[in-house]
Amino acid sequence: MCSVMYGSPRVLLQVLWAQLLCGWVLGSELTFELPDNAKQCFYEDIIIGTKCTLEFQVVTGGHYDVDCRLEDPDGTTLYKEMKKQYDSFTFTAAKNGTYKFCFSNEFSTFTHKTVYFDFQVGDDPPLFPNENRVTALTQMESACVSIHEALKSVIDYQTHFRLREAQGRSRAEDLNTRVAFWSIGEAIILLVVSISQVVLLRSFFSDKKTTTTRVGS
């Protein structure tokens, strides 16, 4: 797919157009489950000078914390945080190559965590692939651009709000099932303990009686 390379600039531009139509997007937003004692790494190839943002949030699990680590192509740690619930990190790529970021749940013994992350690389692809744009944006167009940016931040806030709400909701549902099971369990324990107390007491006195009667006869 899109693997042909020609020297002619015109053909190059046509293939670039085709490439854009293929859906070339830089920016990924994923939610995945991280089992206990597990580590999950993601990689991305970034060009020098690109401004990138990594944002993550733990949705469900335990104390809602995860270890996160971001490394550049040479292995230098750009960002490292332990047991963090939510964070956002912006950096500009200083080198060309594969950047790696990992989420680790190795400190946890039995809680699975659900982690959401959003890794934005560079700007959005242009709406119109017009390389030969000479004139500046008109007022209407720049108003549209600012509305677009504002709406993007609204969507971003909505996402974070949704994740927080998911956290609360999941806890509430857990609480609901636990209350049900434990109440039933406790009622059963109560009944069993009180009946066995009486039975045990009765058995103390019953034994004594049989021994006394035997001695008598």
């Binding site: 600039p9 859906g23 890794f119 119109f128 998911a166």
Partner: protein, 218 residues
């Protein structure tokens, strides 16, 4: 060859794959991703796989015969898509129920020998809602000017925000019902347990009293 920015970026996309993010997956490992979306939202997922080649110690460009099984479950854990795709695939679905959809990928290797290296690189790109729209294509199809296209994009974004707000209202209702249910359960079970405690206490005393009277110890 001209050295303008698009050309440079284009050349680099030939060296680096088109879909930015990638991760490694084991042979029979199943990787699942969760997408919490409102209803009537379109989701397009694209993936590309590369297999580790022991001989060249690098990842092969493309591997024929290697397939990935994609399984998508809706919030009621009903399977809405379960298909086998090739080493490069594109799957799309539209949600009919709001909630958490699960997208699972696992490799279905046709030849076990392919996995001599054991490492499979998967490039993944999942786009949701208005991000699925291909604006240059829409502009060409409906013959829109730049301003019209920008306004169209804003309309799509606002529609997505509206859908999300609706979904939020539905979620809040569910949360409220769960809290109400917990409240009811705590109330009734506390009363029930107190009653059981009192009744068993009374029963114990009565029973023991009659038992000791029978034994002529009281």
């Amino acid at each position: 060859m001209m050295l303008s920015a698009p050309a440079v970026i284009f050349t680099l996309t030939l060296i680096y794959p088109s879909y930015g993010l990638y991760f490694h997956i084991g042979e029979t490992e199943k990787k699942c991703f969760i997408e919490e979306i409102p209803d009537e939202t379109m989701v397009i997922g694209k993936y590309r796989t590369q297999l580790w080649d022991k001989q060249t110690s690098s990842f092969l460009r493309s591997t024929p015969g290697l397939g990935m099984h994609v399984e998508i479950k809706d919030p009621d854990t009903k399977i809405i898509l379960s298909r086998q795709y090739g080493s490069d695939g594109r799957f799309t679905f539209t949600s009919h129920t709001p909630g958490e959809h699960q997208i699972c990928l696992h490799s279905n290797s046709t030849k076990m020998a392919l996995f001599a290296g054991g490492k499979l690189r998967v490039h993944l790109d999942i786009q949701v809602g208005e991000h699925t729209n291909n604006y240059p294509e829409i502009a060409a199809k409906d013959k829109l000017t730049e301003l019209q296209l920008r306004v169209r994009q804003l309309l799509d974004q606002v529609e997505q925000i509206q859908k999300e707000q609706n979904y939020q209202r539905y979620r809040e209702e569910r949360f409220r019902m769960t809290s109400e249910s917990t409240n009811q359960r705590v109330l009734w079970w506390s009363i029930a347990q107190t009653l059981i405690l009192i009744i068993t206490g009374i029963w114990q005393m009565k029973h023991l009293k009659s038992f000791f009277e029978a034994k002529k110890l009281v």
